[in-house]
């Protein structure tokens, strides 16, 4: 029960944070939560199931554009867009999972890179549908009312922050349950030795595809939240560099450790804000840090700590 308690305590602290912090800090925390969802989602497919994916940014974008386009064309509210974004991204996850059945390791990595690039090109070029480079702008949503009384004024930063926090908690709980279910054990078995896993009767096709779907759906959810909170989408928020950043978050924290990618996301989102004044050097520092970290500590911070504890 201990992890649940710690998680609950952190969630409570985050929930009251906007009362103490200003809008800028709340905004940064919200971005942090988006990336926590993305990193945990990637951890499911790459950390637990061992299927390397460089396409998180694409699924993130698919979710965001689903929400933006549905709001624009159908006027649908966020609570409808959330499942829709998850389903659309999940379906594309299934699509990407199919070549993954045949390819492994760095071959699979290249395929996911191609997928990421194609999605980016489509959302940035299909101007009549996605708005091209300028993206889609969303108006402020109408308040949620019942019997003529305003219940929630969605649209303020705080309301989006709290919604994001609530959805993030649900996503993390789901991911945690999945990772520690029978399915999660099957994923780990596939990662550790696919031939052996198949030999003992694990359906590796089902295992891989579910991991891809789960990972993509979580990214899609993060995308829907982002689209609404930022009141619009632009393609440059969903490039391969976003994918790579999420991979970095997962790896720095520790693959397949669940908590590691969360910490990685927290660190990599907050670091540029702290380095803000060093605008000229911040990306140079970021790149070098990544190289150093992977060379010196490939199992990630949490992986290293656990190994030390095990000794």
């Amino acid at each position: 029960m201990k992890p649940y308690l710690i998680g609950l305590a952190v969630a409570l602290v985050l929930a009251v944070a906007p009362f103490v912090l200003g809008g800028y800090e709340t905004n940064v925390l919200m971005m942090m939560l988006f990336f926590v969802i993305l990193a945990v989602g990637l951890d499911l497919v790459a950390g637990y199931c061992g299927q390397f994916s460089f396409a998180t940014g694409a699924f993130y974008g698919l979710g965001a554009y689903t929400a933006a386009i549905m709001s624009r064309d159908l006027g649908s509210p966020i609570w409808l867009n959330l499942p829709a974004g998850a389903v659309v991204a999940g379906l594309f996850g299934l699509l990407l999972g199919i070549p993954a059945l045949r390819l492994k390791g760095h071959f699979l990595a290249i395929v996911t890179i191609a997928f990421q690039t194609i999605v980016y090109l489509v959302i940035s070029q299909w101007t009549s549908f996605t708005g091209g480079q300028v993206g889609v702008s969303l108006p402020n949503p109408a308040p949620l009312t019942a019997f003529g009384v305003t219940l929630v004024q969605l649209g303020s930063l705080r309301s989006y922050y709290w919604l994001t926090l609530a959805v993030a908690v649900i996503c993390l709980l789901l991911a945690w349950r999945l990772a520690h279910s029978r399915l999660g054990s099957e994923w780990i078995a596939i990662r550790d030795d696919e031939t052996l896993a198949a030999a003992v009767g694990i359906d590796t096709t089902r295992g891989k595809l579910t991991a891809f779907i789960a990972s993509a759906a979580l990214a899609g959810v993060a995308g829907v939240l982002t689209a609404h909170a930022m009141r619009g989408v632009t393609p440059d928020d969903f490039t391969i560099w976003i994918s790579a950043t999420v991979v970095a978050m997962m790896v720095l924290g520790g693959r397949g450790t669940f908590i590691g990618p969360i910490l990685g996301a927290v660190f990599l989102v907050l670091m540029p804000e702290v380095l803000g004044r060093l605008a000229e050097y911040k990306m140079l520092i970021y790149g070098s840090l990544l190289v150093l970290a992977i060379t010196l500590m490939p199992e990630g911070v949490i992986g290293r700590l656990r190994r030390r504890a095990a000794r």
Binding site: F52, G105, F107, Q125, L284, G287, I294, P298
Partner: protein, 296 residues
């Protein structure tokens, strides 16, 4: 028909760059299993070194080419020490992330040193011995000498590479590594030196492409992004790790792009390559020219 030939010639010029960049990428990939995200940056560095050598140091062209080859090979040496040597016993994802970090660091270092503005290499072809005597009109096809230089260099370098791979001990070691690393090691191939050579060759090829291209196009800190994506496309189309496949696919991609912008729409030219990639991945994951084999 005349115009068609001109379009094909234009495609061969850009296609030759793709070949130079992609062959190095596919070598590093096929032999060492490293997905090198920083490969486009080798191209970028080649462009900048060329500008420094010719515009600032005022070196003659051939000397400048030598300087670029040397500098790019040096970059390859360092890249191997970062991306492969400490990570070779680990799974492929490590080197991907590390090379991504290296790409970001190199792009931003270039931004700090060279500035964000695009720059151009002033290549005075009239001073290059053989090239200046070449014609610019080949029947209906018009190609300025700077452009002719690119496929010419490509053919020479890839020819040399082919000969090295085929007939020298180093080349045999490289091919042995690509086929089966463990067996190669058992047979006495020195893995570490093969890795260093592979990186140096790959980087030098990309660097020379960057230098030549910056004489007809521009070079700027993030120029490597698009070229790396094109090179990845070529690597997939040609069959991952397949050098000859990359050479043919690179030319084909260049020509296809050129014909697309001539006959379909210019805005479709970047998309068309990726459409091919999807088709190939769906129906022939081993690439256009690869033999079907278990990939692992």
């Amino acid at each position: 028909m005349d115009l068609f030939l001109q379009y094909v010639a234009n495609g061969v010029v850009t296609g030759s760059t793709y070949v130079l960049v992609a062959v190095g990428l596919t070598l590093i990939f096929g032999i060492l299993g490293v997905v090198n995200f920083a490969h486009g940056e080798f191209y970028m560095i080649g462009g900048y070194v060329g500008i420094v050598a010719i515009t600032m140091l005022k070196l003659p062209v051939l000397a400048a080419i030598a300087v670029v080859l040397l500098a790019a090979a040096l970059v390859g040496l360092v890249a191997e020490a970062i991306l492969h040597k400490p990570l070779k016993s680990r799974d492929a994802t490590n080197s991907i992330i590390s090379s991504f970090g290296l790409a970001v660091a190199l792009q931003n270092a270039a931004l700090l040193v060279m500035g964000p503005q695009p720059q151009r290499l002033n290549l005075d072809v009239s001073k290059i011995p053989v090239l200046s005597s070449l014609p610019t009109d080949f029947g209906p096809v018009f190609l300025p000498q700077q452009r002719t230089l690119i496929p010419l260099t490509m053919v020479i370098l890839i020819g040399v590479l082919y000969a090295v791979l085929k007939y020298t001990w180093t080349g045999r070691s490289l091919r042995a590594m690509a086929q089966h690393a463990t067996v190669a090691r058992l047979c006495g191939v020195r893995v570490q030196s093969v890795a260093v050579v592979t990186f140096m060759v790959g980087s030098a090829l990309a660097g020379i492409a960057g230098m030549l291209m910056s004489s007809i196009f521009f070079v700027y800190p993030v120029v490597g992004n698009m070229i790396a994506l094109k090179a990845f496309t070529v690597v997939i189309l040609g069959g991952m790790g397949n050098v000859a496949g990359a050479a043919v696919a690179g030319l084909l991609l260049g020509i296809t792009e050129s014909l697309t912008s001539a006959y379909v729409a210019n805005s479709m030219r970047d998309v068309v390559g990726f459409v091919f990639v999807i088709l190939v991945l769906l129906f022939r994951p081993q690439g256009l020219f690869g033999k079907a084999a278990e990939r692992s």
